[in-house]
């Protein structure tokens, strides 16, 4: 973690609902290095999109996230609305999930792209700019050229035609490419990709993912990749953060995570990969907990096949289980991965070795259990 472009530290988000306060994000920490692609994996409703909106500053104004979100070292949560606005799109941009609904249906693709080039980062509409734009045909031609060039870069074969088209005239795959093109128009340093391609058929999705991979590679863009599919995360990302019910339960470099999945939830997810047709988490019995009344201890305990009495009582702080591997589970031994949990570590309950290790030849997974009890240094 030499030079993180984005660091999220102890982020909390809660919503006021009819049934009380919902603790939707409960103290998460993760970081993305420059040029790295990090994945945030979890089932629908686990808090992925709230995390993304917190980073982008797009939560409803009544909801104020607590904690730190550092972008290039600067805590964006402490910035004014105008300052955050000026960074959106230019510094950090986003590829929306659903290509069918994320383009404005009543404007041509070209007009939407030109608007981004013209207005991005500006606090409001200004009459003087409107007039100046109307008069200067030069800037307009330049914007048009840039937009068409960008459409070409996302491998759209007839960029001029698509530029003039309304979204309704384009296929889903085309629209997804347009969404990528718009997000990359201003060459942002951080790109948040919210499950791009999920709404498309498998072959188109694969093509779009390859394209995206190439584009960010060329530009050295850092990416936060949101997905519910560990298989996709494995293909695109350098690092994986597994999220469950508003908490990050395991984080590790991609290869490490697949070689040595630790958290029972991660293991559950890995088992459900082959059944692509079912949603994530379907392979694991039970449902996400009630956010307005979350369990006192581990939020996953109710669904965990290895849960013990203590799991329901004590908070499973993330612990260092490898050089660059952290897991929030009592079944693992390790120093707290975050300083703020050091006091908890003193009174931690020792549940012993993970059951699938002691039982040996467990049916859970064919993965070799790695060195899970090794002490890791706290490098964060």
């Amino acid at each position: 973690m030499a030079d993180p472009i984005l660091e999220v530290k102890n982020l909390h988000v809660h919503f006021e609902t009819h049934d009380g306060t919902a603790e939707v994000i409960n103290g998460i920490d993760f970081a993305i290095d420059r040029g790295e692609t990090a994945a945030l994996v979890g089932e629908t409703g686990c808090g992925k999109s709230v995390t993304v909106k917190s980073i982008m500053g797009l939560l409803p104004s009544a909801t104020i996230p607590e904690g730190e979100i550092r972008y290039k070292g600067e805590d964006v949560l402490s910035l004014s609305d105008a300052e955050r606005h000026s960074r959106r799109g230019k510094e950090m941009s986003m590829i929306m999930q659903d290509p069918m609904t994320s383009l404005n249906p009543v404007l041509t693709v070209g007009e939407q792209m030109m608007d981004v080039l013209k207005w991005q980062g500006r606090p409001r509409l200004s009459l003087s700019k409107l007039v100046r734009d109307a008069l200067s045909t030069g800037a307009k031609a330049e914007h048009r050229k840039r937009a068409i060039e960008m459409l070409g870069e996302v491998e759209i074969s007839a960029p001029e035609r698509v530029f003039e088209s309304y979204p309704v005239e384009l296929s889903g795959g085309m629209r997804q490419r347009v969404l990528i093109a718009i997000a990359l128009l201003s060459e942002p340093d951080l790109l948040i990709a919210d499950e791009p391609g999920t709404a498309l058929d498998v072959t188109t999705e694969a093509k779009v993912l390859d394209l995206l991979d190439e584009l960010v590679e060329e530009r050295d863009t850092s990416v936060l990749y949101i997905t519910h599919d560990l298989g996709v995360a494995r293909e695109v990302s350098d690092r994986i953060n597994v999220m469950y019910a508003g908490e990050i339960v395991e984080q590790a470099p991609t290869a490490d995570l697949f070689a040595n999945p630790q958290h029972p939830y991660t293991r559950g997810l890995l088992e459900s990969i082959p059944t692509l047709s079912t949603g994530i988490g379907d392979g694991i019995e039970g449902h996400l907990p009630d956010y307005t009344n979350p369990p006192a201890g581990c939020r996953f305990a109710d669904r965990c096949p290895h849960a013990e009495a203590a799991c329901h009582e004590a908070y499973p702080y993330p612990r260092q289980t490898g050089a660059d591997h952290a897991t929030a589970c009592h079944l693992f031994d390790g120093l707290p991965a975050r300083e703020r949990h050091e006091s908890l570590a003193a009174e931690r309950v020792d549940i012993g070795t993970a059951p699938w290790l002691s039982a040996g030849g467990d049916t859970h997974s064919g993965d070799a259990p790695g060195d899970i009890s090794a002490d890791g240094g706290t490098d964060q």
Binding site: G45, H287, L288, P289, D290, Y291, T292
Partner: protein
């Protein structure tokens, strides 16, 4: 995001009933918490009570009819004549009270007729299907497309000016929305039943109508009818303003305004107070309707 844990083995029948009761309770709280709708309810209750007790609370009940009291003609509002008197000396407040009876009664009757026609036609079209359905719904579409004010005006124009004709004319132009709603509901229920069992038509239709179709359309009809109570009063007032409604000396609000219109330069109160009464009534129904719409969570229009 769904954060609710589902309990699969709970008796679904009683769960549904409990859910409905819970919704009703929540709806009642929403309605009670909605200040506007409470205000509206109070306004309409006041109006209804005033209309019912008009002969007893009107200071000059005999002024409801014809009469000439020149010694007190065109008096501005005072303690004796709260809303002043008209050019023949009749107490406007008393006449407004009696006008409330007519307006509420007219609106109520018109809507009862319109809703009966609409529901009946909707049921017939939905159940019989085929050509009958097509014909009825085409006619409904035409009626939906013509603004009721205009249609009612044309009908009264042809039939002649009287309160009865006004009511028939408005009802005649007002049923289409209800027909469309009920027909849609019958169709969707029929579709469900074809899939589940084959008892869609036949002897079960009475039961289906009262147990499945009507309960489903009660909410939107209630909201729409509440709002329409106000609008029918407006249309009726407009027609009687033109002299097409109940003939003088019947104290309709619209006719009173028409009388006062000739004296706006000298006796403003003659036209203003009956109009306030209309606005008060319509506003009351709109307040309630607006609140009901939130509570019952239906879109009308």
């Amino acid at each position: 995001m769904s954060t609710k844990t589902s309990i699969p083995f709970l008796d679904t029948e009683s769960a549904a009933r409990k859910e409905r009761i819970r919704q009703l309770k929540r709806g009642f709280r929403t309605f009670a918490g909605n200040k506007l709708s409470l205000v509206g309810l109070a306004m309409i209750l006041t109006l209804v009570v005033a209309a019912l007790l008009a002969p007893y609370i009107a200071p000059f009940p005999e002024h409801a009819g014809a009469g000439v009291y020149f010694d007190q003609a065109s008096e501005p509002p005072s303690a004796t004549h709260l809303m002043g008197t008209d050019t023949t000396g009749r107490d406007i407040f008393s006449r407004v009270l009696f006008g409330a009876r007519l307006s509420l009664l007219m609106s109520g009757i018109v809507l009862s007729i319109a809703i009966s026609i609409g529901v009946t036609l909707g049921l017939i079209a939905g159940y019989l299907g085929g050509t009958t359905n097509t014909v009825i719904m085409r006619v409904t579409d035409i009626f939906l497309a013509i603004p009721p004010t205009l249609l009612a005006m044309a009908v009264v124009a042809a039939t002649g000016a009287s309160l009865f004709n006004v009511m028939v004319a408005i009802a005649f132009s007002w049923w289409s929305w209800y027909a469309r709603l009920v027909q849609g509901e019958v169709l969707s229920i029929k579709e469900d039943e074809f899939i589940e069992s084959s008892r869609a038509l036949g002897s079960g239709w009475m039961r289906t109508t009262f147990r499945e179709i009507l309960p489903n359309v009660v909410s939107p009809i209630t909201v729409k009818a509440t709002l329409d109570m106000g609008f029918v009063i407006l249309v009726g007032a407009g027609l009687s303003f033109l002299g097409l409604g109940a003939q003088p000396p019947t104290p309709t609000w619209g006719a009173m305004i028409a009388q006062g219109r000739n004296y706006v330069t000298s006796f403003w109160w003659i036209a203003v107070f009956p109009g306030l009464a209309i606005s008060f009534a319509v506003l009351g129904f709109n307040f309630i309707g607006d609140g009901l719409r939130d509570v019952l969570d239906v879109e009308v229009d």
